[in-house]
């Protein structure tokens, strides 16, 4: 177990190094920081950015929108996903809605939302609509995939409902809940920042990126992007740690069966 995590993170480090090398080579080749700043310039810009006025309130404004959109999509996705997983008619009724939400470009939703809502609400609404079907279909899939043999076992031994929920259904759903969590959170970040660029709320990362674009502050654009990537990495790492703890029972599966 231990050795395999070491090698996998070593490979990840090699991957990151390769990306940075390509980036560095590209910036040297182009030789114009307005088009493609070097990694060092982007890092320097990030340093300036963190010290700049309003940085934390912009960061927080976006984070709050992400959390709102994510929480809404996760809560409703959980409810709708569970319902559609348990009841076939609900599943069939919801599937066109989910299919539609999956194919609608987020731009058309954002443009509509700008007409309907104040600028600060637009990113929350769009993030909710984009992340909701991901959570709902993941949870619904999880409900359907609960092992029928174990459901029969539960029936034959007359296991009480409360025990069945905590002992069978929640653990069966856990991998789906975790994957829905990380996917919905990642999606919410992407959508919130993009929607902010369009709806221009007074505070937020999207607005800052848009003004960086209009002033041709390319290094600052890169700095914001780096920051978002770092946030994503941190969230994934935290989730990975939780996952490793929650799924300890899977250990041993490899060498004994």
């Amino acid at each position: 177990m231990r050795r395999s995590t070491l090698t996998s993170s070593a490979y990840a480090a090699i991957g990151v190094a390769a990306l940075i090398a390509v980036w560095q080579a590209g910036s040297m080749l182009i030789g114009n920081s307005l088009l493609l700043p070097s990694p060092a310039e982007a890092l320097r810009a990030l340093g300036t950015l963190v010290r700049s006025r309003g940085f934390f309130s912009d960061l927080w404004a976006s984070t709050a929108r992400v959390l709102k959109g994510f929480a809404l999509s996760y809560a409703l996705g959980l409810a709708f996903g569970a319902a559609s997983g348990m009841m076939r008619p609900v599943r069939y009724m919801l599937s066109p809605l989910f299919a539609a939400l999956r194919t609608i470009p987020f731009i058309s939703l954002s443009v509509l939302a700008i007409i309907w809502f104040p600028s600060g609400t637009v990113p929350v609404f769009v993030a909710f609509l984009m992340a909701f079907p991901i959570v709902a279909s993941d949870v619904s899939e999880g409900m359907v995939s609960v092992d029928p043999l174990l459901i029969e076992l539960t029936k034959v031994y007359k296991v009480p409902l409360r025990k069945a929920v905590t002992g069978l259904y929640l653990p069966s759903l856990a991998p789906h809940l975790v994957s829905a969590f990380s996917q919905a959170l990642g999606m919410s970040w992407k959508i919130v920042v993009s929607a902010e660029v369009l709806s221009m709320p007074s505070r937020g990362i999207g607005g800052r990126m848009d003004s960086a674009r209009s002033f041709l502050e390319t290094p600052e654009l890169f700095a914001w992007t780096l920051l978002l990537v770092a946030l994503g990495f941190a969230a994934d790492a935290a989730l990975g740690a939780i996952r490793a703890r929650a799924f300890r029972w899977r250990e041993g599966r490899l060498w004994r069966m």
């Binding site: 043999l149 174990l150 029969e152 076992l153 029936k155 034959v156 031994y157 007359k158 296991v159 025990k163 002992g167 069978l168 653990p171 799924f247 029972w249 899977r250 250990e251 041993g252 599966r253 004994r256 069966m257």
Partner: protein
């Protein structure tokens, strides 16, 4: 009386009969085997008896207030729970204590904290057995419970199981394709016929009540007779020792 009586039982899937017209009596305190090659609806019979499936015809007369415990063909353990957690999932209160004792009786003492993934197939199957045996239900249904258990273990395990179930006054139905299981454990047996018309027997083939020990002189002869009986039925005949 805690006998389980089956009359004219029939079941079909999508219009195709799995079996029909089955008459069987499972006496209390005895192990009744249902012997037959695979694909004759033995598992379906167990599923009808425990209520997971509904029959299309006939009836199952189960004594009032009596429930079933089942040893499934697959271990059916919850992979995220330890062995003890698995027993606790299906039992409560003093049932857990009984199950843990049964676990020790089946040679799995000290396995309580292990996860199913860390057990061999035979070990998982013994947890499945412990779970069913610890149940207070008077009817014990076993669906090919020993297919992943080796002969040496069987020779020890089956007489032990026989003794336990007899002393607790259980009605045991043992569904199997193995004449050896029948000889080691059963008091009586039925044979599932191959034409879907149900079961035959009891037969003239004498099997020793209470099951034989592996080192009994007659064990091999008994197994041989059972095998011949199965083979003759497979050809559609009734066999030299038929009723």
């Amino acid at each position: 009386m805690e006998d389980v009586i089956v009359r004219g039982l029939g079941k079909s899937f999508d219009g195709k009969p799995v079996f029909s017209g089955i008459d069987m009596t499972f006496l209390n305190g005895e192990v009744t085997a249902v012997l037959g090659p695979s694909g004759r609806g033995k598992t379906t019979l167990i599923r009808v008896l425990c209520g997971l499936e509904r029959q299309d015809e006939g009836e199952v007369r189960m004594p009032k207030g009596i429930g079933c415990s089942v040893v499934f063909q697959e271990p059916r353990l919850l992979p995220w729970l330890t062995v003890e957690g698995n027993l606790r999932y299906c039992m409560d209160g003093e049932g857990v204590g009984r199950a843990l004792k049964m676990l020790a009786g089946l040679g799995l003492e000290g396995f309580e904290g292990r996860y199913p993934a860390g057990l061999s197939g035979g070990e998982q199957q013994r947890v499945n057995l412990a779970r069913a045996l610890a149940s207070r239900e008077k009817v014990l249904l076993m669906d090919e419970p020993f297919s992943s258990i080796g002969l040496g273990m069987k020779a020890e395990l089956l007489p032990f199981l026989r003794e336990r179930t007899a002393s607790e006054g259980k009605t045991v139905v043992l569904v199997t394709h193995s004449p050896m299981d029948v000889a080691l454990m059963a008091d009586r047996f039925y044979l599932m016929s191959d034409d879907g018309r149900g079961a035959d027997g009891p037969f003239e083939v004498e099997i020793v009540k209470g099951g034989r020990r592996l080192d009994d002189d007659g064990f091999g002869r008994e197994v041989h007779k059972l095998m011949k009986l199965m083979a003759s039925l497979g050809k559609g005949g009734h066999g030299p020792d038929g009723r």
